[in-house]
């Protein structure tokens, strides 16, 4: 009984608190809830802008979505994995064309990213030295990156024209490097035309990022290396490149994804039907869905592309960060 007294006392003591509790709790919920409430619009927007279209795309890839169901595509019949089967059946024409386009895209992307990186890094290294006109040159180098894609690429279209284009004027008329004017926008040379424009458009980004990365390398390292008798090449190999490693890791990945997915450049260069030598996968998918009005197959190809890029990105990040960890040890 005596023990209850303190209990009661305690109860009585806390009772104002509990009596206060119900009155204060909404306030607490409100205080805790407000940040989430404020996040809600952003979350909804994220759903609306990113996730919903992606999910719809994936749903579409399981449907036979041809022109007959366009008006109300929810009525299109389910086709299970038929679209995927069509896309990866490499013995049938559709799959064969997809595989070919995939190979072209991969070759193109590797070459383009490699060249962008090489030119960008070289330019950034040379721009490290202080000399007159450096600012002007830096600005000039960034112009291709700053130009609107359409304007830039349409200019290239004019330059690549066979009869009146600047490229043939220089290569054939003035330098005599080719024995006849070449076609750049149709036929096999279109691959090189596409590669040229892509590198021209992409390297300033590499230049910009590497230049920023170079600012973070302490000058003392170079001075110490110079004292030890390391030449320019040695310095680049032993100091610059290892220090740029984290920058390059991101740079190469971003360039790869952008180039692999690039739609604007080939579309403006070649229009709806790209020549086979330059038939990038994004254009190919566009053609499969918009031009032949088979949105189901197009979506299936897009999902496959998404999966491939996920695997590549994951693999790349795993590989490069593992390499770095061992290097750090």
């Amino acid at each position: 009984m005596t023990t209850t007294v303190p209990d009661e006392a305690a109860e009585r003591h806390t009772s104002p608190g509990t009596a206060d509790g119900p009155r204060r709790r909404p306030g607490r919920i409100r205080r805790i809830g407000l940040p989430y409430l404020l996040l809600l619009p952003a979350l909804l927007l994220e759903l609306l802008v990113h996730l919903v279209p992606m999910v719809i795309g994936i749903v579409m890839s399981f449907k036979t979505l041809t022109q007959f169901y366009l008006r109300d595509w929810t009525t299109a019949p389910w086709s299970a994995f038929d679209n995927y089967r069509t896309a990866v059946d490499f013995n049938a024409p559709v799959g064969e064309a997809l595989l070919k386009s995939f190979t072209v895209t991969l070759t193109f992307t590797l070459l383009s990213v490699g060249l962008c990186w090489l030119i960008g890094t070289t330019a950034a290294l040379y721009m490290q030295e202080n000399f007159r006109g450096r600012g002007v040159l830096r600005a000039l180098f960034l112009v291709p990156y700053a130009l609107p894609v359409y304007t830039a690429v349409i200019t290239w279209v004019f330059m690549f024209q066979r009869d009146n284009g600047l490229v043939n004027k220089v290569l054939y008329d003035q330098l005599g490097l080719t024995d006849k004017p070449l076609f750049w926008l149709i036929g096999d040379n279109s691959f090189y035309a596409l590669l040229t424009v892509s590198v021209w458009k992409g390297w300033p980004f590499a230049f910009l990022i590497v230049m920023a990365g170079l600012q973070n390398i302490p000058r003392e390292l170079y001075e110490a290396a110079a004292l030890d008798g390391a030449g320019m090449l040695q310095q680049v190999r032993r100091i610059t490149l290892p220090s740029l490693r984290p920058v390059n890791q991101v740079l190469v990945l971003v360039l790869f994804l952008w180039t692999f997915n690039d739609f604007n450049t080939p579309y403006v260069l070649f229009g709806k039907s790209a020549p086979e030598a330059a038939n990038l996968i994004s254009i190919h998918i566009y053609q499969a869905s918009f031009v032949t009005w088979n949105f189901g197959t197009g979506s299936a190809m897009s999902v496959l592309l998404l999966l491939f890029l996920l695997v590549v990105t994951g693999g790349y990040l795993w590989f490069t960060s593992r390499g770095r960890r061992t290097a750090d040890v």
Partner: protein, 438 residues
Amino acid sequence: MRTERTAAVAAVTMSLALAATACGGGSSTGGGSDDSPKTLTYWASNQGASVEVDKKVLQPELDKFEKQTGIKVKVEVVPWSDLLNRILTATTSGQGPDVLNIGNTWSASLQATGALLPWTAENFGRIGGKDRFVDSALGSTGAEGKDPAAVPLYSMAYALYYNKKMFADAGISKPPATWDEFRAAGKKFSKGGKWGLGVEGSNLSENIHHAVVFAKQQGAEFFTPDGRPDYTNPKAVTGVKQFVDLMAKDKIIAPGNAEYAQNQSVSDFAKGRTAMLLWQSASANLTSQGMSEDAYGIAPVPVQSGTPGTGTGVNSMVMGINMAVFKNTDNLDGATKFVKFMTSDGEQKILNQAYSSIPPVKGAQADPAFNTPANAVLKDTLAKSAIAAPQVAEESQFETTVGTAVKSLFADAAAGRPVTEASVKAALDKAQQQMPTK
């Protein structure tokens, strides 16, 4: 406390608004209503030299319509490169114009999507009846046996445009009527940087329009009577090869034409770089390029025998523009009135003169304005020797796949690679494989 509450209210309001817009879009139910009777949206195709020219041509007519009916028409002139994609997007989302122009070759394809209002006898009655229109134009308004998906608005046909002075200089007294004469004439012009003929090798639609006619002259169709693609039949191969051979074998087309897609061949002709051009209703275009009307002559496109007619004597597709009402319109009555207005005899005269096309409406076609020698050739072709595009649901895919095949054949020819029966057949076979299987 107060600011916190305001923030919370704002956040909730915004979320609700977002959710509402997310759910609100794209409801594609309903088959037309009269919810907004005072306005109409109209997508016009680009018929004149530029989008701006079209706006100037159309606006006074739309003002006239507003005066008559009190309905305001908001017009947007959509370039050809975008038109089909825009229509597809509108179809998918249900958010489109009330009235729109379509290329008449797309009629059956768009009809299959169910996006366009079918022109039943009753609907035709509201615009004055089906028999006001010319038969050949009605043949390109949708699949046979179904109610048309659109009504004819402007009609066009291919003709042979030739440079009179170049013909006189070469001592050729009359335009060629057979392909043999055509090739012989072409060879005379193709020297010293000038060429016999100009084509748009990278323009898929142009390629198709010629491929269909060349194949038909051999007696071939690209679709079987039950609507299956049949691109590789030997006669179609011969027809397509004959067209590409104008560059590959006969060498009367400059190789550079293989990459033309922006009407460069029209400006080449206007500048006197080529002596001949096969084009549809080119007069207005040539005038805007600075070529005076007495500098060129117009003749029917050659045929194998020399006399255009039906069957293997055809020398043009029935080209033209149709006008359709979007099924989801919220001003059905106004849309119908607008179609009636645009296809009335008076408007037909004004618009077709502005675009150098032929009215598909009988009453307007009889007008003397369409009896000039140039228009007589086009009218004659439409009436006697033009065939409709294949009226099958896959016509639009046909244009792209076969158009691409011809483009690649021109690329081969331009690069000096041989164009053989086998290579033509292979290209057409590839095109056929890309068609959706039924």
